[in-house]
């Protein structure tokens, strides 16, 4: 029986419906999410983190739904239909260009499906681990230390490079097989149809269990939302001290923003307070008892005592004279994407004026969610 094609099906021809509507929406939705996540992750700066998280999360949601559909969907959506045995995979490869035409996924294509789905899940997990450790947000924030942030984001990045390579192979495979079989397979993923030919390898039809799929997916949504919310609200171990000592904000923040004590190790604060007579080009001398009071407070809340990304970055700061953090390699690497002129804007004024762009600078967190670089005001 010929189904009436939907209006968007474009060139209607008498094909066999292979890819159901969910599978097609899933495929192109995943293309959109993964492309957005790759572009925002590789090419855009840290202030785009929200877009990266939203697109990445949507990709994981799509893959999760697709996994449920892999057990409940119609014939060619089912994992059991296309999961090849070792023998099938080998004989498919041996046949080379002469292999039989599969109306669903051929064994090599099926392996690609599983590799891509697994890689995307892996990217989701390592992404959540990077977010939790390095950025102290999300469900893993309380359980992973900030010192692991670098390694998780490296693994996340490597997985993204692997995904890029497999996407290239996937596209290459689609082009090759389209040529070999003289059928536009990308168009099949749009209208869902493939030409039925003699000798095609087909599978016995299986109905989709829509109700079961909907039940599973909504159950997973509820459980995941609950678990993520609950885990994200766990108290963080060793957070930066929440309020500034009055003497510190009165004395030090008279001239500059109140730099959080967790940005420098104790030895660095000690050195800074010993050299106040020559404090970054100015005399900032304090009466001894005031200076001592501030030093005690700074040392008590210094980088060594805090689990946050900025604290981790500068715990190992080595100085003989106090160094301004903007003159460190770490700072310059982190701000490398900004044009030089950015910092001389009247709204920012200097590289040491962190909170012109980092709204949470005085909390010590420096979350990428809190970055907004001000524009030069109109004259």
């Amino acid at each position: 029986m010929r189904e009436v094609p939907a209006p968007f099906d474009g060139l209607a021809y008498d094909g066999h419906l292979v890819w159901d509507r969910f599978t097609r929406v899933f495929h192109w939705g995943l293309v959109a999410c993964v492309s957005t996540a790759l572009v925002s992750g590789f090419l855009l700066d840290a202030s785009w983190i929200r877009l990266h998280l939203v697109s990445g999360s949507l990709a994981i949601a799509l893959v999760t739904a697709r996994t449920v559909w892999g057990f409940t969907g119609p014939t060619y959506a089912r994992f059991s239909q296309f999961l090849p045995s070792y023998r099938q995979a080998i004989s498919h490869l041996r046949a080379g260009a002469a292999h039989a035409r599969h109306i669903g996924h051929n064994p090599l294509a099926a392996l690609m499906v599983f590799v891509l789905l697994t890689l995307i899940v892996g990217l989701g997990l390592t992404g959540v681990a990077s977010l939790g450790s390095g950025l102290k947000s999300g469900p893993m924030a309380a359980s992973l230390p900030a010192s692991q942030g670098h390694i998780w984001s490296k693994i996340h990045e490597l997985a993204a490079f692997a995904l890029l390579s497999f996407i290239a192979l996937h596209i290459g495979g689609v082009v090759l097989e389209s040529r070999r079989s003289r059928e536009n397979l990308a168009r099949s993923m749009i209208n869902g149809r493939k030409e039925m030919r003699a000798g095609d390898l087909t599978a016995p039809p299986r109905p989709a269990q829509r109700a079961l799929a909907a039940l599973f997916i909504s159950g997973l949504v509820i459980i995941a939302t609950g678990a993520i919310n609950r885990m994200s609200q766990s108290p963080l171990p060793l957070p930066p001290v929440g309020s500034m000592a009055l003497v510190y904000s009165d004395e030090c923040a008279a001239c500059h923003m109140a730099y959080h004590p967790s940005l420098r190790p104790a030895a660095s604060w000690q050195l800074m307070m010993d050299k106040l007579d020559s404090h970054f080009g100015e005399d900032a001398t304090l009466p001894k008892e005031t200076g001592d009071e501030i030093t005690v407070w700074l040392v008590k809340h210094s980088a060594e005592t805090v689990d946050s990304k900025p604290a981790t970055l500068w715990t190992g700061l080595q100085e003989t004279l106090p160094v301004a953090l903007p003159n460190t390699d770490i700072w310059q690497r982190l701000h490398g994407s900004l044009a030089d002129g950015t910092f001389t804007r009247r709204t920012i004024h200097s590289r040491s004026n962190c909170f012109a762009c980092h709204r949470d600078a005085e909390s010590g967190w420096f979350s990428p969610f809190q970055i907004s670089v001000p524009k030069e005001p109109k004259q």
Partner: protein, 130 residues
Amino acid sequence: MKPVLVLSAILLSQPVLAQDTSPQALVDQYSAEAGAAPSPKNGRALFTANHASGKPHTPSCVTCHSADPTKGGQARTGKPIDPLVPRVNSERFTDMKFVEKWFGRNCNSVLGRDCSAQEKADIISWFMSL
């Protein structure tokens, strides 16, 4: 939050100034120490001149305070500095420790030495004339 708590939070967030002196009392005290009448004209010259003897980033008072002391200035870090003229900013020159701390630091940064009592009297008397 109760209004009382809000009010006390606002009060606590302001630097507590001792209010133990006034601009006139300071001028009187510094001129007595110097043994000469204050000169607003000399105060203005000292404040606006470029000095070579201090730290390289702060050749003059106006580097940070701006050339018009009735207006605010901006520290090298970008932090705004309140106006110095008492008519505009009534908190100025009302706390002896505060005044001495900043004359101490800033004269050393700009001039490379302490300011004399005469110079302090001159500068404050110039601000009072504005």
